[in-house]
Assembly symmetry: C2
Homo-oligomer: 406 residues x 2
Amino acid sequence: MKAVGIIVEYNPFHNGHLYHALQAKHTTQADVIIAVMSGNFLQRGEPAFVNKWSRARMALESAVDIVFELPYAFATANAPNFAQGAIRLLDAAHCSTFCFGSEDGNLEPFKRSLHLIQQAGDVYEEIVKEAVGRGLSYPKALNEAYLSTVDSANTKGSIADLSMPNNILGFHYMEAAQKIGSTIEPVTIPRIVARYHDDVVEGNRIASATGIRKSFFESDALNTVASFIPDSTREILLQWQSERQSFGSWATFYPQLRFIILRDGPERLRSIADITEGIENLFYRAAANNGTFESFMREVKSKRYTWTRIQRMLTHIFTGFTYDKRNCMTTPSYLRLLGMSQAGKNYLNENKKRLKLPLVSKAAAFSDPSLEMDILASDLYALGIGNEAFRSQIGTDYDTPPIIIK
Amino acid sequence: MKAVGIIVEYNPFHNGHLYHALQAKHTTQADVIIAVMSGNFLQRGEPAFVNKWSRARMALESAVDIVFELPYAFATANAPNFAQGAIRLLDAAHCSTFCFGSEDGNLEPFKRSLHLIQQAGDVYEEIVKEAVGRGLSYPKALNEAYLSTVDSANTKGSIADLSMPNNILGFHYMEAAQKIGSTIEPVTIPRIVARYHDDVVEGNRIASATGIRKSFFESDALNTVASFIPDSTREILLQWQSERQSFGSWATFYPQLRFIILRDGPERLRSIADITEGIENLFYRAAANNGTFESFMREVKSKRYTWTRIQRMLTHIFTGFTYDKRNCMTTPSYLRLLGMSQAGKNYLNENKKRLKLPLVSKAAAFSDPSLEMDILASDLYALGIGNEAFRSQIGTDYDTPPIIIK
């Protein structure tokens, strides 16, 4: 059996995701789709809209055959580390290919870009460093270095546009695959219609996840978005809503976050991963001054830090993810199975002995600092959601068996 | 003008407190009553029922002339440090006497006890150490050492019964006054009717604070307790209730406490004041297992640790009060004025230049680590109370002026 790997967040799963998954399978002639999915905290440094179990179920009920959890340390990391974690898992699961969405759906520009940057080597690194020194945000510095590398190589026009978020991730996936010497082959398909921040537009059956969440928060009903999401997604969101009366977001989690920032104080915040350059003092003052996440962010946002970078720091503050903890998690050490279809089950049976990392079906049976962190993140997410009935239900991750779709 | 000092928590202020304050004034022929009152966290390691401003107002509207805040570091400490902090403030405020409630209202047994223990010196300390080593709680070990000191001195019968909470505090007040070489004179009056844990009994106009809080939580109305508290206390509690719909208690604060214990983990908890001997691991497991404070305490309570000692550790966890922070706060460094009557104002005017510590009327105008901690404790208390409207109102301690009763 042949597997294609995809790297996803499904926040929440919608028609665009379904289309991408099916295209990936079709293009690569794969028998099964393996998704590496972020847990309850995402790459942009945000709590997921609904938890990982609900999102895994959405995926499995639509098209995906196997969902592995991308451990917290990688799911909430910058693009290179996020990519490294995800590609290692797909490689460990013996995927023949991985497929990512890009602006143009053409792999050649990515290959050329990768080649160019590798040729530039230290020069590239130095330009990045210098640009950060000038006060540029890290992604902007990367792009500047990239463009100047390209310019001097006189190959403009035939390389990937790394100012686009999807292209950046795709680039890092390819880089990661090459770095670890994997035989996994990259494939790209074009993104369709809705861009990252586009709102839901009626008459269009594809919308961005951001747009779907937004219309959901605004209308407080699923009617607006029903035509943009599979029925199974709709069912799962309805069930979530009736049980919790609340969705994951910084607005929801802010009272908790604020309490922690004030209680820890700058001194203790300094040990939290990604906190640098005295930003802990800014966070501390802003938490004292602001009663909403929106106004908190208005106070801390500056040119120097991207919104994403700030949110990642806040995620680590929320979960108590220190530099010390992160230092023990440099590479994924297990394949945490969140769920599978019948085809997925067959694939795993067939490949059981060839998997390059231990398969974890039940968390209680496996001991690992990174897995402990995933479980803690789940617990704190559950407490943050705030519904009394669910607040007491923590530690469930230890015993939750993988979802199996018949 | 002559002042008598009293050391109080007023949680909440009731007829018994009023009686004690008036008796203290009468017995000592004082012109004004100065109360040193705990802030938002109390000596038994609990959040106060209502905040310090409301409690100070209750006291000032009934009989007390000046309320100074006992800083967090002393208000939540064990009996000797609590006593040291409180007596230093009364001494700094130039009280001629301090008055405490005791079981018998007779000062002589206390004097003899103090003398005996001082004579025993190191022997006493050694018996305490040995008894703690055998697994006794600290208060029990103290009492054991005390009794054996007394036995060997053949003076039984004429000494204070230090197995009673009020007597223990009284003893430490006297010890503290002697240690700092203060000229302040001790006075004691007998406690009346209701003991610490007695419930409200109808037909009796004096009830314990514990009883009052309990009947309030149970009936959710002030009718039951109306005859045990002054009208002004009743008004203040009613206003609090209508604004916050919630009172301070571990039951209310537990979701927050639980989140912090899980998020910090044993590693970080170890730096919190009073955490010793691996109890952080027990707390961590119990927080994972229990959705209510009641069941949490059932799991962590053992013979080795008194309820109070455990609650103090939890208070420090809640407020992030580390060993490092406490080490900077060995003795009170200011007199924080929460409020005063006209007589109190006159007294302060008259004694302005004789006060032994700086008088802080507005927190924003004074900088001190201990004051910072008091303000932080107020903020975290406000966030813990949980009413949305009040959650955003933090940092108010900086600008709140002292209450002035006309």
